[in-house]
């Protein structure tokens, strides 16, 4: 645990917590403008959170501690990931936890908590959302782990700091077929895990189309605020992970305040750009039927498998 | 006992064994068959006694006495008791294979027994092991009797003949398979005879005869 790691461990969660609603706001604003609307402004998600935190907390009849704790677990897992992954600094605060498998599994654990909360309500909506979400998670796992495999072959390790450092040392590796294929596969994975179009529509409440929204239908007040914050943080974390795994330049390699500031600015810019690209893509895409999603995920699995094969045969 | 006397008595006993086995195959009256079987029991006892004197083993002598009591005394007595209740059916009616063919088969079985026992004899040539083929012959003839006779009593005698043959081979090869094993086997045989005797009585009561060929219901 070096000084750089500690600095990163303190700065990163603050940046992520503060910035993720802004990222979501930017994405919504871009979509609004492209769709010809005025939009609510970049700060609207923060305004929503403030409103929700001021409301009365609710406990629906028939639910239990599982329902009450799930938002906490969700935020906590995303917070741990935000602390551990190298966003702003190359070294991580808790290096033995900064393993790509561990990070991916932690994020899945958060989703599982939410699914259990959905089942705990005992409503048909909750069960439906949980069932669909679990199906998507089960099908995303192979793509995710094989893409991590592809990334780790060149580096010889799945430790995040090692991967980022080795990409910094050898920039030309990014343009290789391995990296490009893995990047495309990971983009599809991120879309599926964060519940964006075309896998899931984050702004729908029709039972035919809800996946994530169905699980959190019963939440209100501070609980809903935590859930919204958590999903914004997950989006930011995933986009930051994608950015720093493939385009890590600007990340702070020394403890000087200038470098750290540069790291913050770099990750903010990268995440915003990626988020905007995602939002623009969403405007032109329609949501896929739930039973077409496996085809999409199978395609991404094929790309990840090709990435691994390329890393062997082109080595 | 001198060597030549030993060999002579041994050969005599084996000859007696073979002769009695062929007689069982040849004669058709059930009472004669039982008497012949008793004689074979005596022959086996003599064989074991000769081996006992040659080895100088008191245990083997005790076994010989036991064999005499069991195979020449108790078993024929039980068979005679069963025969006494048989009534008029005291002859073996046409066997499945007629007598001439049975004797021919006995000759073939003797040849087979000799051919099979060659490696055993070659392993440890001695007067005792030279007599092994006789034991195997008695076994095979006993099995043949078991298969081709119709009366339950004849089949029982065939089964006992098989056991005599096995005992003979056992004593000739190893000079005794151990007192405990011999006791156990003898007990088994005794029990088998008792059970079969009860069965024959029951069969006679239920079916009015013990002709096994008429009992054909033992299938699916």
């Amino acid at each position: 645990m070096s000084a750089l790691g500690v600095v990163g461990g303190v700065v990163q969660p603050l940046v992520v917590v503060a910035g993720s609603p802004i990222v979501v706001g930017v994405m919504r604003q871009v979509r609004a403008r492209l769709e010809g609307r005025a939009g609510a402004g970049i700060g609207q998600p923060w305004r929503d959170l403030r409103k929700l935190f001021g409301k009365e907390p609710i406990a629906p009849r028939g639910t239990s501690e599982v329902f009450r704790f799930a938002p906490l677990v969700l935020v906590a897992t995303t917070l741990v990931v935000a602390v551990v992954v190298p966003f702003v600094t190359t070294e991580s605060a808790l290096d033995p936890v900064a393993d790509l498998f561990a990070v991916v599994a932690l994020l899945a654990a958060g989703t599982v908590a939410l699914a259990l909360a959905g089942l705990d309500t005992g409503t048909a909506f909750g069960g439906m959302g949980a069932s669909r979400e679990m199906t998507i998670i089960a099908l995303v796992e192979p793509t995710l782990l094989v893409a991590i495999f592809a990334l780790s072959v060149r580096v010889g390790s799945t430790n995040l700091a090692a991967i980022v450092a080795s990409t910094l040392d050898d920039p030309s590796r990014v343009i290789s077929p391995v990296s490009l294929l893995a990047a495309v596969a990971l983009v599809v994975v991120i879309v599926a895990e964060t519940g964006r179009l075309p896998v899931d529509n984050p702004s729908t409440h029709l039972e035919l189309t809800m996946v994530h929204e169905a699980m959190v239908l019963e939440y209100a007040g501070p609980d809903l605020a935590l859930v919204e914050l958590a999903s914004a943080m997950r989006l930011t974390v995933f986009l930051g992970l994608l950015a720093n795994l493939f385009l890590p330049w600007g990340i702070a390699t020394s403890v000087s305040p200038l470098a750290v500031l540069g790291g913050v600015v770099a990750v903010t810019v990268k995440v915003t750009v990626l988020g905007t690209a995602l939002a623009v893509g969403e405007v032109f895409l329609a949501k896929l039927r739930l039973f077409r999603v496996p085809e999409l995920l199978a395609g991404s699995f094929l790309l990840a498998l090709l990435a691994v094969a390329a890393s062997f045969f082109l080595a | 006992m001198s060597d030549t006397t030993y060999v002579q008595v041994l050969d005599l006993a084996c000859g007696g064994l073979l002769l009695t086995a062929v007689l069982v195959l040849w004669r058709r009256e059930l009472s004669v068959i039982v008497r012949v079987f008793a004689a074979q029991g005596v022959a086996v006892a003599v064989l074991v006694a000769v081996l006992a004197t040659h080895e100088g083993s008191a245990e083997l002598g005790g076994v010989a006495v036991g064999i005499l009591v069991l195979r020449a005394g108790a078993l024929p007595w039980l068979l005679r008791r069963a025969l006494a209740g048989a009534g008029p059916a005291r002859r073996e009616t046409r066997p499945l294979v007629n007598v001439a063919a049975s004797l021919l088969a006995a000759a073939l079985l003797t040849l087979l027994a000799y051919a099979v026992s060659q490696p055993l004899v070659a392993l440890a040539p001695s007067p005792a092991t030279h007599a092994i083929p006789v034991g195997v012959t008695v076994f095979l003839i006993g099995f043949f009797v078991l298969v081709t006779r119709r009366r339950a009593l004849s089949q029982l005698v065939g089964f006992l003949l098989m056991d005599n043959g096995i005992t003979t081979v056992g004593f000739l090869t190893t000079a005794g398979v151990g007192l405990v094993v011999e006791l156990g086997v003898s007990l088994d045989v005794l029990l088998a005879v008792l059970v079969l005797r009860i069965l024959t009585t029951r069969m006679r009561e239920t079916f009015g005869g013990t002709d096994l060929d008429e009992l054909r219901e033992l299938h699916d």
């Binding site: 935190f53 001021g54 907390p57 609710i58 406990a59 028939g62 639910t63 239990s64 599982v66 677990v73 551990v84 808790l94 033995p96 936890v97 393993d99 599994a105 654990a109 699914a115 259990l116 089942l119 309500t121 005992g122 409503t123 048909a124 909506f125 949980a130 069932s131 669909r132 679990m134 199906t135 998670i137 089960a138 099908l139 796992e141 995710l144 782990l145 495999f149 072959v153 010889g156 390790s157 799945t158 019963e218 501070p222 605020a225 739930l290 498998l305 691994v308 094969a309 | 079985l109 087979l112 099979v116 095979l140 099995f143 298969v147 081709t148 089949q155 060929d213 219901e217 033992l218 299938h219």
Partner: protein, 672 residues
């Protein structure tokens, strides 16, 4: 006095004593005697295992005990792992069985055989000659069969399950017998050292035959496809402590057999053996968890989950063999260590899961997930135990299986650089299979826990549920504590397992583990489950603190669930296990091929009007349909042909014997 010898002798003595006592004492005390005896026996086995892991070995011959071959017993480090695991599971199951026996499995035979089963399993691991091994294996199979059919008087399905189990376990034993005998025929004796020497010099064809045949036998015991059909039938029907022992201790012995024969006795072997093992393991894992995801019977779900986990273990063993035959001993040690750790972890969480499933059965009388629900209010301890087991089984941090799956993935990933084309194709596919398995396992256990224990009760049985007696809770607690310990502090067992794995593949230990971190040796990678858990707990506290500070301080108000304004929610509106798994079933339609039955009854007056519709859907086991039915049909055809041999005449039957004897003798003469 060798501590292992003392512990093993103690275990055998206590087991026999407990069996005798259980037969003799009155019914009130019978369960106590058997349960305490089993627990003490298990504790002795655990001690023996721990001593063996720390380096002590034990050797004993009793030539007079068994005719022909005598009894040879050797305990080494590899055996120590399985001794310890079996012993630990027996402790939990024994304590649990005290309370469970009141549920009805109180018969003399069942209670007496329970400790004997544990003793037989311990002896299988110690056996060091073919005769001893087979006798102990057969004893273990026999005792487990007696235990499986314990409740056959109350339920007829138990008899059928027992029949399947008996036939398949004996076919497996015949296969093992054949393989070991072929090996012993080429060796100077039948003790394992003699077999080891012979195994180095066997011609490749003979070694291949031995390996394949023993793989079939041991794989069947471990529940690997395609010989797994007994597992999902026998485990639900057996009493729960017996299911726990079978699933968490007995199936491990199949893995033990494969490692012992493949690595130890045959000395490694060519790479294609281990590719077969890897392929079988991967297919079993995916198929097993898929069937578990579809299953609505709680114990059948857990049985299929055992197939899945054993499949993952075989993936590790296969990868270890592939690396070893390619010369990469460090990675081979790592893969084997991952497999052995997964064996240990699986035993821990499978015990918790089966014991809590038994508790649910005891409290509600039902195993059907579609009829359960809402048990967290009436059975909180059982819910907590099952939740712990489900977290452990789903390979999520901070669960137990996460560490072993991480190790397995690390071993598979690092296999790529220095290898041939076969490895380059096999490794990504293996990683994909492991990943798909992990994803489906998460879905399965969310279903099992969420549908079975949360929300509202779906039937009267679940509504009138009662918590289990104290001894059952203590048994679950022991297993749960083991799960937690293995999850947070894998450094307690990893050094021992690492050195065992290293010794089996002739290299040094592949990892360094202190109390906090697991560090891999030779390849780059480290993980700290403890740090991860502490970070999570700290983060949760932080979030609670921030929310308290930021949110308005008001008490929570109870409110209605959203019911679309239509009135109070009934239990019928909840999602059931079948509906939860329906999207997955549609995605995997081609593999599962469910059978649907729709029965439409029309009214008497007109055939255009429908009076009643009955819908039935079933997900069969495809392997059984495709593979087993033709074999069984063939056997039935042979049987009916053979029936013609039985004409009814006693003479003919006797004649068959005579002709056979004469024919054999003639053959003997002619072929001299």
């Amino acid at each position: 006095m060798n501590p292992i010898g003392a512990a093993l002798g103690g275990a055998a003595a206590v087991g026999l004593l407990a069996a005798v006592v259980a037969v003799v004492v009155p019914q009130r005390v019978r369960a106590w005697a058997a349960g305490v005896g089993t627990a003490v026996c298990g504790a002795a086995g655990l001690t023996a295992g721990i001593y063996a892991l720390s380096g002590t070995t034990f050797f004993l011959t009793l030539p007079a005990l068994l005719p022909l071959s005598g009894v040879t017993i050797t305990v080494d480090a590899l055996g120590g792992v399985f001794l310890a695991v079996t012993g630990a599971v027996a402790v939990a199951a024994g304590v649990y069985g005290i309370g469970y026996a009141r549920h009805g499995g109180d018969g003399r035979v069942v209670q007496a055989v329970f400790p004997l089963f544990v003793v037989a399993m311990l002896l299988v691991v110690c056996a060091a000659s073919v005769g001893t091994f087979l006798v102990c294996w057969e004893l273990m199979a026999l005792f487990s069969l007696l235990l499986v059919v314990a409740e056959h008087k109350r339920r007829p399905e138990v008899a059928e399950a027992g029949r399947w189990y008996a036939v398949m376990t004996h076919l497996g034993m015949v296969a093992i017998l054949a393989g070991l005998l072929v090996l012993a025929a080429h060796a100077a004796g039948d003790s394992f050292p003699a077999l080891r020497d012979a195994g180095r010099h066997l011609p490749p064809a003979v070694a291949a035959v031995v390996f394949v045949v023993t793989l079939a036998g041991f794989g069947s015991k471990a529940g690997i496809l395609p010989l797994h059909a007994w597992l999902p039938r026998a485990h639900p029907e057996a009493p729960s402590p017996v299911s726990a022992l079978m699933s968490a201790a007995m199936v491990n012995l199949g893995v033990y057999g494969i490692v012992r024969v493949g690595f130890d006795l045959l000395g490694g072997g060519p790479r294609w053996w281990w590719v077969v093992v890897l392929a079988l393991g991967a297919v079993s894992a995916v198929y097993g968890i898929l069937q578990a995801a579809m299953s609505t019977d709680l114990k059948r779900l857990l049985g299929y989950s055992t197939t899945e986990n054993m499949g993952l273990v075989l993936v590790g063993v296969g990868a270890a063999g592939m690396f070893a035959s390619g010369g990469n001993r460090v990675l081979a040690g790592l893969a084997l260590a991952a497999a052995l750790l997964h064996v240990v972890n699986h035993s821990a969480f499978k015990t918790v899961l089966f014991l809590s499933a038994g508790s649910v059965l005891h409290g509600t009388g039902s195993r059907d997930l579609d009829a359960l629900g809402g048990l967290r209010t009436s059975m909180p301890a059982t819910t907590a135990a099952f939740g712990l087991g489900a977290l452990a089984a789903s390979a999520l941090p901070p669960g137990t299986a996460f560490v072993s799956e991480w190790l397995l993935l690390q071993a598979l990933i690092h296999g790529l650089p220095a290898s041939g084309t076969i490895t380059a194709i096999a490794m990504p596919l293996a990683v994909a299979a492991v990943a798909l398995t992990a994803g489906l396992a998460v879905a399965t256990f969310v279903k099992a826990f969420g549908v079975g224990f949360l929300a509202r009760p779906r039937s009267d049985a679940a509504e009138n549920a009662q918590e289990s007696p104290a001894s059952m809770l203590i048994g679950m607690g022991i297993a749960g504590a083991a799960c937690v310990g293995l999850a947070l502090l894998p450094g307690l067992v990893l050094p021992a397992i690492g050195s065992v794995a290293g010794r089996v593949v002739d290299s040094s230990s592949p990892m360094l583990a202190d109390a906090v971190t697991v560090q891999l040796v030779g390849v780059a990678g480290s993980l700290s489950p403890l740090m991860l858990t502490i970070a999570l707990v700290v983060a949760i506290m932080l979030v609670i603190g921030v929310v308290r500070a930021v949110a308005a301080r008001r008490a929570r108000r109870a409110a209605r669930l959203w019911d679309c304004g239509a009135g109070p929610m009934s239990a019928r509106m909840e999602y059931t296990a079948t509906s939860f798994a329906e999207p997955l079933q549609r995605v995997f339609d081609n593999v599962l091929q469910p059978e649907t039955d729709v029965d439409v009854t029309h009214t008497r007056e007109s055939s255009y009007l429908v009076e009643a519709v009955q819908y039935r859907r079933q997900v069969p086991d495809r392997i059984e349909r495709r593979l087993y039915r033709p074999v069984l049909a063939l056997v039935a055809v042979w049987g009916s042909i053979g029936r013609r041999l039985a004409s009814g005449s006693v003479h003919r039957y006797l004649g068959y014997g005579f002709y056979t004897v004469c024919g054999l003798l003639i053959l003997l003469v002619v072929t001299r």
